[in-house]
């Protein structure tokens, strides 16, 4: 199955750059396994929608707040992302819950079979970023299976 890793966040804001730091780790790991596409999603917001109309498995990598201890990694399912309260009005920033909530209503192609978010809480050391990069590849290839 095709897998897409989409790293999102703001490279220039310390508390929001973890997703892009993982992107840099993944780029250094090139070539990625066959069938895995890597995307620097940045702050694209609603403009990420076309990337979610190609079926397959989608792994978002982003900074999160309030889900686990600082420096830790958390995995959120599609359902858990959508349960984030009060994030369903569009703004210039159009966060992930808004994008995923609107997706089935505007999709022109094939919805992803699975969507997960690999979240990085607070400031993460290089070892954590590398671990997140490897986890994102594993999840893009196999889903949540074998994560342990």
């Amino acid at each position: 199955m095709k897998g897409t890793i989409i790293c999102i966040g703001n490279r220039f804001v310390e508390e929001d750059c973890a997703g892009l730091q993982v992107f840099d780790c993944l780029q250094a790991m090139h070539p990625l396994p066959t069938g895995i596409e890597l995307v620097e999603g940045g702050l694209a917001g609603l403009n990420l929608l076309p990337l979610l109309e190609q079926g397959g498995r989608v792994v978002f990598v982003d900074a999160v707040k309030g889900f686990t201890q600082s420096g830790e990694i958390v995995v959120l399912t599609h359902r858990e992302i959508l349960q984030s309260p009060g994030q369903f009005r569009f703004g210039h920033e159009a966060g992930l819950p808004y994008v995923l909530a609107i997706l089935p209503k505007v999709c022109d192609g094939e919805l992803p079979e699975d969507i997960v978010l690999l979240g990085l809480e607070g400031r993460c050391v290089e070892k954590t970023l590398e671990k997140a990069a490897k986890m994102s590849v594993a999840m893009a290839m196999h889903g949540l299976r074998d994560l342990g």
């Binding site: 703001n10 220039f12 707040k65 992302i81 984030s84 309260p85 009005r89 703004g91 210039h92 966060g95």
Partner: protein, 516 residues
């Protein structure tokens, strides 16, 4: 008895906490306002010491909404330093990309960020059109809300083709562009633009662009509304009817001074018309009196911003960005500087473009009611009508002239300074760049939101939307939708901020309150 309300909270621009508006309300009227950017970004500092071309890669990542816009400004600044004029085909491609971003932003902002408040049942439950508004604009379910996302999303394919990739293309370089789309791809772009135009005419205008262009006065607008059910029921028709009944033409006057840098440099050989080499005119207006734009009149004041104090307002070529957040308690209240034009507060954005260009409908609207929320928002909503036809024309010219040049060689960037001054979706955007030994020694950016959302200056003059808020009636301080209309009509965007998933937090709840 005078009642003073402080500390009210509204979801103002849903920009997730980086914009805070504090107001004082006396007897239900806003009497004072302070606008604070609450996040220091410091992009300018990050640019210093980097390679001359790094602005092309870094500045588009500053903002997800305006990435092409920043790329355009960065490329134009380097063109100026290199002393190169890009070939016609590069002009066409650059303009097309910027137009796609602008058109997409205009329709999304109108439906998803401004008119969504018409579906605010607490504020407009009794409005004669409130129920209809709810069906059109309620978040995630309104008919128009879903349609605008679906249609604007498809435009992205044009950027992917022109830029060679999406997201984060850096296809603009000093001297031109790096991508030369195949004829088949250009034809595909033309089909996408024509499809979008067809939707825009059918759903947004309710008529052809040609018919809309014949609306040249307030009385023409009234006649247009009654001419056909398609006009009345279109999104523009609905917006005008709802706004009039809600009194939006009486809110948000602002500084009554307008600035446009002009936009879309014209190819030497093109059927698209313009003024002084640009499709969209540059100028400064006081009311409806328009004067030539003089770039040297731009200064930045930091007297009320959290930056090192003591210097007089300076032109951005010599401006510095040195954060200094301590001391001056109560005087300094924003990370946004205060840009001024000839020392004056100005408003920028689509309404300014319409006035500077001498659009007769908007001149008439301003002469009758002054600048206001309805006129400001209408200007944004109908701006695509002026862009879609030139987009199709330039795509046609690209197909016909694809064999011509797309790039003039620039081997290196010489020492010097240059500015890229363009119109972003939200208004005047400038990149001022100074290069020495192929390194950036100074990089200053003034965004449209810095112009519109600036704090006070050394003369105590309020920023544009601070001024526009004064006199705004607020019926319910717990649901101050009127203040939201005023600020949102400027389309505030401080998106280059934090946006991560935050457990248990309401995204974009922006504080309106005292205690600056």
């Amino acid at each position: 008895m005078v009642k003073i309300a402080k500390g009210i909270n509204i979801p103002l621009n849903r920009a997730e906490g980086d914009l805070e508006i504090n107001v004082e309300i006396k007897d239900g009227i806003i009497t004072e306002a302070w606008s604070a950017g609450t996040l220091f970004r410091g992009f300018e500092g990050m640019m210093r010491g980097r390679g001359a071309l790094d602005g092309l890669v870094m500045t588009p990542r500053v903002c997800g909404i305006c990435s092409i816009t920043h790329l355009t400004a960065a490329a134009e600044a380097l063109d100026a330093i290199a002393g190169v004029t890009p070939p016609d085909n590069a002009r066409r491609l650059r303009n097309l990309a910027l137009m796609v971003e602008t058109v997409q932003s205009d329709v999304r902002q109108a439906i998803l960020m401004f008119m969504v408040d018409f579906a605010n049942r607490e504020a407009y439950g009794d409005h004669p059109l409130g129920k209809d508004a709810h069906g059109r604009y309620q978040p995630l379910a309104g008919r128009a809300a879903l349609e605008v996302i679906r249609e604007s999303k498809r435009l992205l394919q044009v950027l992917a083709i022109i830029g060679g990739q999406w997201p984060h293309t850096s296809f603009m370089v000093p001297g031109g562009v790096t991508s030369i789309p195949e004829i088949s791809k250009l034809l595909q772009c033309r089909i996408i633009v024509e499809h979008f135009q067809s939707w825009y005419e059918r759903s947004i205008l309710g008529c052809s662009i040609e018919r809309w262009s014949a609306v040249r006065s307030v009385s023409d607008l009234a006649a247009w509304l009654t001419e056909s059910p398609a006009h009345r029921d279109s999104e523009v028709g609905f917006f005008v009817r709802f706004s009039r009944q809600a009194g939006l033409h009486t809110l948000g006057k602002g500084p009554n001074r307008f600035l446009s840098y002009g936009n879309f440099p014209l190819p030497a050989d093109t059927a698209v018309q313009g003024t002084a080499g640009r499709m969209t005119a540059a100028g400064y207006a006081v009311g409806t009196s328009v004067f030539p734009f003089e770039a040297d009149k731009i200064t930045e004041d930091v007297s009320h911003s959290w930056y090192e104090q003591g210097a007089v307002p300076t032109h951005p070529f010599v401006g510095k960005t040195k954060p200094y957040a301590s001391g001056q308690s109560g005087t300094l209240y924003s990370w946004v500087k205060a840009p001024r034009y000839g020392g004056e507060v100005i408003e920028t954005g689509p309404l300014a473009e319409m006035i500077v260009a001498g659009n007769p409908l908007f001149l008439d609207l301003i002469e009758k009611d002054g600048a206001n929320v309805m006129a400001r928002q209408l200007a944004r909503f109908v701006r695509p009508a002026a862009l879609l036809v030139p987009m199709a024309a330039w795509l046609g010219e690209l197909v016909d002239k694809r064999g011509d040049s797309f790039y003039h060689s620039v081997r290196s960037i010489p020492d010097g300074q240059g500015a890229g001054l363009i119109q972003a979706a939200r208004g005047a955007l400038g990149h001022w760049v100074k290069i020495q030994d192929e390194k950036i020694v100074n990089y200053q950016i003034i965004t449209p939101t810095a112009w519109n959302g600036s704090p006070r200056d050394e003369n105590g003059l309020r920023g544009a939307w601070e001024e526009a808020l004064i006199g705004t009636p607020v019926k319910d301080s717990k649901n101050p939708v009127e203040a939201g209309h005023v600020v949102r009509s400027f389309d505030p965007c401080l998106v280059c901020a934090v946006h991560c998933l935050h457990k248990g937090r309401e995204c974009g709840s922006v504080k309106v309150g005292s205690g600056r």
